[in-house]
Symmetry: C2
Subunit: 395 residues, 2 copies
Amino acid sequence: MVSEKMKTFMSGNSAIRAMFEEGKKMAKIYGPENVYDFSLGNPSVEPPKEVNEAAIKILQQTAPNALHGYPNNSGFEDVRLFLAQRSNRLHGTDYNERNYVITTGAAAALNIALKVILDPGDEVIVFAPYFGEYNNYVRNYDGVVVPILSDTSTFQPDIASFEQKITDKTKAVIINTPNNPTGVVYSEETLKAIADILNKKSAKTGRPIYIISDEPYRELVYDGIKVPFVPDYYNNTFIAYSYSKSLSLPGERIGYVCVNSAADGFDDIVSCLNVANRICGFVNAPTLWQKVIPYCADLKVDISVYEQNRKDLYNMLTELGYECVKPQGAFYMFPKTLIADDKEFCNAAKEFRLLIVPGSSFGCPGFTRISYCVSHDTVINSYDSFKALKEKFSK
Amino acid sequence: MVSEKMKTFMSGNSAIRAMFEEGKKMAKIYGPENVYDFSLGNPSVEPPKEVNEAAIKILQQTAPNALHGYPNNSGFEDVRLFLAQRSNRLHGTDYNERNYVITTGAAAALNIALKVILDPGDEVIVFAPYFGEYNNYVRNYDGVVVPILSDTSTFQPDIASFEQKITDKTKAVIINTPNNPTGVVYSEETLKAIADILNKKSAKTGRPIYIISDEPYRELVYDGIKVPFVPDYYNNTFIAYSYSKSLSLPGERIGYVCVNSAADGFDDIVSCLNVANRICGFVNAPTLWQKVIPYCADLKVDISVYEQNRKDLYNMLTELGYECVKPQGAFYMFPKTLIADDKEFCNAAKEFRLLIVPGSSFGCPGFTRISYCVSHDTVINSYDSFKALKEKFSK
């Protein structure tokens, strides 16, 4: 009935989604205001009002078949050109529409990039903690994930360990900055060090290793932090982007993959991405949302809400005695659990109606992810629960 | 750079899409009114006006985060329940929301169904001529397509050959009715015969064989033809559906996969489809278009336009001496080519600014697909070109 292969995917099924479903059940029992659900990265801030305005305007003013018909599998050419020109303006690149494939979110962007470059057995390095879906995406193409634990005092990648783990089978490195689940932004130094090592290794083997930079949180940064633009540091770069977080549109599935012009095999790669988008079954990104991009690409949600949550939650947790690296971006915090067994810890948290995700789901046991894309009240009102949880494990 | 595996996908890249791009170039040279582009199944009839009205109303009246946030990976529960109740009303089924996963079109529906059931080496039977993308979708999961040529005098499946080709590795049969590229609707007799053989074989091996019924053209039928409902004939059925054709929304990527309640392993299958939707990178179908479904599921485009094209094109071609099975649905016609080499024939057709696709792309050489989802003028004005093409090969 169900394939053996699919069964292996099911066994690693997402703890996050399971908790999300559990949260909904608990909300029914205790009332939603009494459940502190920090489990899912579902944006709580509304999209800028211009998003719906643009969608309505497009629906009213575009010839229906031009709007709703099949575009090129890579997306509308004018929208891709818009993205290229925007990048050229912001980052001094030399991109044109060929650098872009518009995708049904970053998940599709990552999948078609991996489809295009991975042969069975190829290795993909990820820096733990990392978004657990990378395991599935890499396995979709029979690749092998090679996780490297970051320095947990900063959550910057461990460069020495990285250098050691690169093999002749390494085909790609996925980076995710600002990071889910830590909120850390990789520094220029980190990117330079990664690039140096990759250039050195590629020069030796003659085989390019690609960085796939997963950047859905690029716009969500605090304290004036700048997120380095990866192609400035490394030629063989794919950028996977999504408007899910910057415009609070995760349900609509709109994003893109961008291939740096200087990437080895650029022409073949962009041809293959176009075909991969089709044959993986995405076909093309939803056309209405493609058309919305030029109206809204420079906008972002009101991140002051997340910033306030970050500040209050961070202060609250550290004051209560939790250890935590202060996040610089995204809407996640990744404190240490008070016992080594993070699964047991997160299970115990449910007693106090706290839903938080074990670090193990991100390849980093001994920590827990708290998604603070919730109402400010949820943050404030969770104080007693985090306090009780602390006390439980301080006895 | 590009993987060896991806290269094999590129070599079989779609002749249809290549022709579509060629058509755009020819239109620039000769003027669009002088190019008779019958290459792509891009709907020419506008969506019912209620579609955009519903989308605008939903955008105006729904809380933005409830509309644009992450739903369950299977889709909004209320929309799935709506689909179930609609099926129960129309087909007397006993479905509920669990039978449905809303997908980014039928392509995603087919991909997640195949992801869930196929192990490497499993065989999937298709009846030629068939939509060439099935080759890619099956190969995405390392399955093997087993094509069986239909009776070309009727384009109903060849049942004797079907029975012979089932092996211990057969896991699924993809049927597509109304059919792309022939426009033929499989008869009740055909479905009964297929079901009988599958039941007999499964009983012998104890291994279920699933029918995946790809039905994007269900609503596009003529002369009062009824399209049989496959679960009435066979328990182990998946239905892959799309609103691409019935509502002319191919760019928006909205459809569903429905699993029949009596299918073997129903509970496991629906759990796996939910997860497969996520891990394949679809995550969920675009939420705005999910919400449009309950407003528009009973509507369809004005098919009188396609019907007129069908009649006039069929009369024109047969009068000119082309041999063709009269289509009962969809917007395709599949006449015999005037020489055995269909690729050469379609190439020659370009001389007369006719863009038609070789039957080889559908696993059926010696024929050509004509997509008549074009303006009525295109059909009428193509007369001289089809006449000249006929004359060229009658000398």
